[in-house]
Symmetry: C2
Subunit: 160 residues, 2 copies
C-alpha cells in the first residue's frame, strides 16, 4: 500500500456502487469498440479501481486471486489492453497504473503525484497546443505526451 502519510489518513478508494458503475461503463466501451472485456481484464481493472492511488503491477498480480498470485503475463497483458482502451494510465515515474478518471482529455492527461501519501490527481494539460507548436517547429510529430508533476498534496502539507 505505498508510502503511508504519517499525519493524515486520507484514502480515496471508490465506493462500491461507483466501482461497479465504472466496470459496467468499461464493458460498454469495449463492446462499442468491438473488443472483448474478458475476466482477467475486468479483474485487473477492478483492482486498479479499488486502489487508493497508483498501483504497481506486482500488487495487482499479488491480489489477483483470493488464494494466490497471478502469473505476470496475465496481468501485464491486461494492463496493456486497458491502457490501449484508455481505461487506465501508466505513471512512468512510479512504474504504476491508475484508472483514468475522465474521458475528456484522451491523449493529454497530466498527473500531480504526492510523494508523501501516494495519491494522484489527474488534470488536463494546460496549453497542450503550445507544446505541439514547439514540437512542430522542430518537425517533430507527437504521438503521446507524459506529464507528471511530483510534489506534496494539500493534505500532506497541512491544508486539511
Amino acid at each position: 500500500m505505498s508510502n503511508a502519510c504519517a499525519h493524515h489518513d486520507h484514502h480515496h478508494a471508490l465506493a462500491a456502487d461507483t466501482k461497479s458503475q465504472r466496470l459496467a461503463e468499461a464493458e460498454t466501451l469495449c463492446a462499442q469498440a468491438g473488443e472483448r472485456m474478458t475476466s482477467s481484464r475486468l479483474r485487473t481493472y477492478e483492482l486498479i479501481l479499488e486502489a487508493s492511488g497508483p498501483i504497481k503491477a506486482y500488487d495487482v498480480i499479488d491480489r489477483f486471486h483470493p488464494q494466490g498470485a497471478a502469473k505476470p503475463p496475465t496481468v501485464y497483458r491486461a494492463l496493456s489492453f486497458l491502457e490501449q482502451m484508455g481505461l487506465i494510465h501508466r505513471i512512468e515515474s512510479l512504474n504504476a497504473f491508475v484508472a483514468c478518471d475522465t474521458r475528456d482529455h484522451p491523449h493529454a492527461a497530466g498527473f500531480l503525484l504526492c510523494d508523501c501519501c501516494g495519491q494522484s490527481v489527474e488534470f488536463a494539460i494546460p496549453n497542450v497546443a503550445d507544446i505541439e507548436v514547439s514540437a512542430t517547429n522542430s518537425h517533430f510529430q507527437i504521438k503521446h505526451i507524459t506529464l507528471e508533476a511530483r510534489g506534496l498534496c494539500g493534505a500532506c502539507r497541512g491544508h486539511a
Copy 2:
C-alpha cells in the same frame, strides 16, 4: 545502440573537444557546489556524453571498463549524483539517461523522444507557470516536473 532508423543514419554524438569541454565544466560545477567529481562519476558522465541519445544504465555499466562491466551500484550511484547536480536527466518513459544540454531550465525541461531513431531533444516547457497555477489551485506543491513527448522526429518522417 537502440532501435536504429532504417531510412536515416543520423547520429549526433559529441565531438571530442566538445566532450572534454563539458567534462571540464562539470568538474567546475561540482567544485563550486563543494561536491566531489570522482572518477566513477566522471566516467559515467563521459559515457552519457558519448551516447548519441538517451542511454540505458546497463549500457553504461557494460561500457564502463575497457575490459569488463562495472558493478551496478557503482553506476547507479553515479547516475543519482549526476542527476542531483543537474548534469543529466532521467527519461522515465525509456528508463534511460541523457546529458542535460543547457543550464537554462533547471527544473522544467521537457523532451521530444523519437520512437524510430531514439534521439531526444530537450526543450524548455512552455507555460510552466500555467501548470503550477493549476497545481496550486489544488493546494499541490510541485517539486519536479517530467514532460516527455513520444513520437517521430523530422528526419524519421522524411524531412531530410
